[in-house]
Symmetry: C2
Subunit: 148 residues, 2 copies
């Protein structure tokens, strides 16, 4: 038994509180930030105790990059955004998580990064659910395998 | 002749103005941000016209992840930082560039991301040059090949 199996991964409750889950890619749980200011996805590699990118094994890092690319492509296609912002900060919630955010030249924080700029604006549930449906359909159609 | 060779890569002059070059990894130029508030490196893949991660070919994305991991490991070893922040934003300078920043619980922006928090504090040149020497030595010693 490896130490990995002794401590199963679970989603940090602070990440869970601010998001809705879209589903799981082979490595990462995909979350939608419940903030309608920006189309904002978060990838959380399901690896216990990972805090930094360099806590992941090299093959997991490669898989993560592939999942970042898939999610980035789908998010840009769905939103027609002007720019993608991709970041892992983790100064407040240590569990490794990667933000993939669709930015627009007329969003409320542009050109600054989003953190600390606008109060979160929770989605209307029907808008959120429609976005999640579109996201799942796009990830099922891109040839990389659907969200589980 | 591919279109790649028609438009040679060159470093964006705004990135050049705010940094000093440490050298080149196989894909990326490594820059040191001239801001002594935080040990702050920037990787710039030498690919003309790349703006988003998904503008890179898959093999270049994999190489970039490897270079992010090498630079992250060396930066943490050199600084004994508490957290790494890794991000590609690019809302103001479009040329694809990846920030790798060493953060401390007592730095002037903690726990916020660094952008927009503190005015840049240029290095004393001897301090900067010593850091660059240490960085180059660490990258020469990690088994991944030295900076060119």
């Amino acid at each position: 038994m490896t130490s990995e199996t002794k401590t199963p991964w679970s989603l940090d409750p602070r990440l869970a509180a601010d998001t809705v889950a879209a589903g799981d890619l082979p490595l990462s749980r995909v979350l939608l930030s419940n903030d309608a200011n920006y189309p904002w996805l978060i990838l959380v590699p399901r690896r216990a105790r990972a805090v930094e990118l360099i806590d992941l094994a090299a093959n997991d890092r490669a898989q993560l990059m592939d999942e970042i690319a898939r999610v980035s492509t789908v998010l840009r296609d769905l939103t027609a955004c002007h720019k993608l912002n991709v970041a892992t900060i983790g100064n407040m919630v240590a569990q490794l998580h990667i933000h993939v955010i669709a930015r627009f030249r007329d969003d409320g924080a542009w050109p600054a990064p989003v953190w600390g700029k606008l109060p979160a604006k929770p989605y209307d549930p029907p808008v959120r659910d429609a976005f999640l449906r579109d996201l799942k359909a796009a990830l099922a159609a891109d040839g990389g395998g659907q969200l589980e």
